[in-house]
């Protein structure tokens, strides 16, 4: 029997989807380790403790709540110290986090503080005797590596979307703890958080992504992509590197080897030829739709459904059809 600790990521006092995915992965790992407990730790400004109930509903037995007015932005040093301190005290088998911008930052800090081996961006976790085994897509998703981690405590960051949050009702006991290091003592100081476009889900969380490429011909035509995303209702908007390099869209929208790597339920590639670097960022999507005027474009090799045609003609027609289909049910 072994307990597992999860860092449950929040933004604006709401749990992020990666937090529930990590709790789900932790529940599975604790169950596979002979039925241990899942403990979650959530940190933020006063009010963040309300997240405990949702964590319990997904399988957490205990939720440690760190409420501090100084934790309204990502205070990496204080949070890493606090999670490491809890991990030391709790005698855990593993610490799990989402492989988000925050988790990527915190995971290696915890590994070093705890002198624990770490595997990043894992898609599957299992137990093999005294070792923990984790699968990780490396080489920009072109090679799947199975890693063995020895050591009594390991750190694992879980790929967003690899685990589907699963309800596993537990009435989590909550316990308030103090930050191990005062957030105001941090050396790295957050001066400002610049919010991006509002009202759309993040690329890492959206079940549907509409992405645009150079085939749209002009920055102004990106509104066709926005309109199609609006028609689906729950879609995020992404772009190729060519488009972000040209300044049609912000750098943070880039999907591909050097940008975001996504695996939504549905990926619609609009005017994207499918350069290998772009495919590296989206080829694990469940269903891929491609609309492109060049029938020989590489994107059609990975598209479940391809339409050869002018995006300026096909996309508005698709937007109208999607709206009609959604209105009828």
């Amino acid at each position: 029997m072994a307990n597992v600790l999860v860092f449950a990521e929040t933004r604006g006092n709401a749990l992020r989807k990666v937090a529930l995915e990590a709790v789900t992965a932790a529940r599975a790992l604790a169950d596979a380790s002979g039925g241990g407990e899942v403990h979650a730790i959530v940190a933020g400004p006063p009010g963040v403790g309300a997240a405990a109930q949702q964590l319990g509903a997904h399988g957490a037995d205990v939720v440690y709540v760190v409420e501090h007015a100084g934790l309204s932005s990502f205070e990496r040093e204080s949070i890493a110290a606090t999670v490491a301190e809890r991990a030391k005290q709790g005698g855990y088998r593993a610490v799990l986090l989402g492989f988000s911008t925050q988790g990527r930052d915190l995971g290696p800090r915890l590994a070093a503080k705890l002198d624990a081996p770490i595997a990043s961006d894992v898609t599957e976790i299992s137990v093999a005797g005294d070792a923990i085994v984790a699968k990780h897509p490396g080489y920009a998703n072109k090679v799947i590596v199975t890693l063995t981690l020895s050591g009594s405590l390991v750190v694992l960051t879980v790929r967003p979307g690899a685990y589907t949050p699963k309800e596993a009702p537990h009435s989590a006991r909550t316990e308030s703890i103090q930050p191990a290091v005062d957030p105001s003592a941090a050396r790295v100081v957050v001066k400002q958080v610049v919010e991006g476009a509002k009202g759309r889900p993040d690329l890492g969380e959206a079940p549907i992504i509409i992405a645009g490429g150079r085939g749209l011909k002009a920055a102004d035509n990106f509104k066709l992509v926005e309109e199609l995303a609006d028609a689906f209702g729950n879609a995020a908007v992404g772009a190729t590197r060519a488009v972000t390099d040209d300044g049609w869209r912000p750098h943070s929208d880039q999907i591909g080897q050097t940008g975001r790597q996504v695996s939504p339920q549905l990926y619609v590639a609009v005017g994207i030829s499918g350069a290998i670097q772009h495919l590296a960022g989206m080829r694990t999507s469940k269903t891929i739709v491609a609309i492109n005027k060049d029938k020989d474009a590489p994107i059609f090799k990975v598209a479940d459904y391809g339409i050869v045609g002018d995006v300026l003609e096909v996309v508005p027609a698709l937007t109208t059809a999607v709206k009609a289909a959604r209105a009828s049910h």
Partner: protein, 255 residues
């Protein structure tokens, strides 16, 4: 005297060309390296360029390139020196282990008494795509660390940086010495000039054993991902839209 000079270490990794078609080696635990082209990893290349620009702007200073790896890594160290770095250190190991913390320990042992104001890394390397080594090195050295920055400025003993978050960006400040891991956007690496290539041949490249310690993360298996089923073109132009909607509703069930 002008602004104080900055001593910068850039830790790089040598990785295969990301556009390669990979095969698995007969060992079953690594890629087959035959025929692959290796170079400084993309993100580490941005870090080298960022360091050179900081020192060019400040005047003086020193840029030292550090890498863990077998002797083949010397080619990448020479390349960084041909771009303009002053000297290089190879921490010799038969291979770079999958245990990022072990690599960080070897680097921290080398860097701790080096008197560096700034230590740069790529945000992650293409091969392991893990992003552990830079941040873990910072922790081992007890230095402030900012990860995945897309803009970096250094002046008067302080740094400021921009980090892209999911759907937002964060502007941070920190004191030096510090560790920063570099995302793209910071600087496009320059190509070495002929003069740079000639000069690099005479620059010092020191080689010493890497103090990796115990390696606790090992590769048990490497495999290629399952192929996606071959693509299917369902039609041409707007006339194909009704069929697409039908498939999205009835087959893919996403609408």
């Amino acid at each position: 005297m002008g602004a104080p000079t900055v001593k910068i270490a850039v830790c790089i990794k040598r990785t295969p060309d990301s556009e390669s078609r990979f095969r698995i080696a007969s060992s079953g635990i690594a890629i087959d390296e035959a025929g692959l082209k290796f170079d400084i990893d993309d993100f580490a290349g941005y870090a080298v360029e960022a360091a050179l620009q900081i020192n060019e702007k400040g005047g003086g200073g020193e840029t030292v390139i550090v890498a863990v790896g077998p002797d083949s890594v010397q080619e990448s160290l020479r390349k960084a020196m041909s771009m303009g770095a002053d000297r290089a250190v190879q921490l010799k190991a038969d291979s770079v282990p999958a245990d990022g913390l072990a690599v960080a320990k070897a680097l921290a042992a080398e860097l701790k008494d080096g008197g560096y104001d700034l230590i740069l890394f790529g945000k992650h390397a293409f091969d392991t795509s893990a992003g552990v080594v830079g941040t873990a090195t910072a922790e081992l050295l007890g230095l402030p660390c900012v990860t995945a920055v897309s803009q970096l400025d250094v002046a008067n003993g302080r740094g400021s940086a921009r980090r892209e978050l999911e759907g937002a960006a964060e502007l941070v400040e920190f004191p030096l010495p510090a560790v920063v891991t570099i995302d793209e956007g910071v600087a496009r690496p320059r190509y070495p000039s002929l003069k740079g290539i000639m000069a690099a041949k005479k620059k010092p490249l020191e080689s010493k054993p890497a103090q990796l310690g115990a390696v606790r993360v090992t590769v048990q298996k490497a495999e290629l991902p399952p192929e996606r089923p071959a693509g299917r073109i369902i039609g041409e132009g707007a006339a194909a839209v009704p069929e697409l909607v039908r498939l999205l509703q009835n087959e893919a069930k996403v609408l």
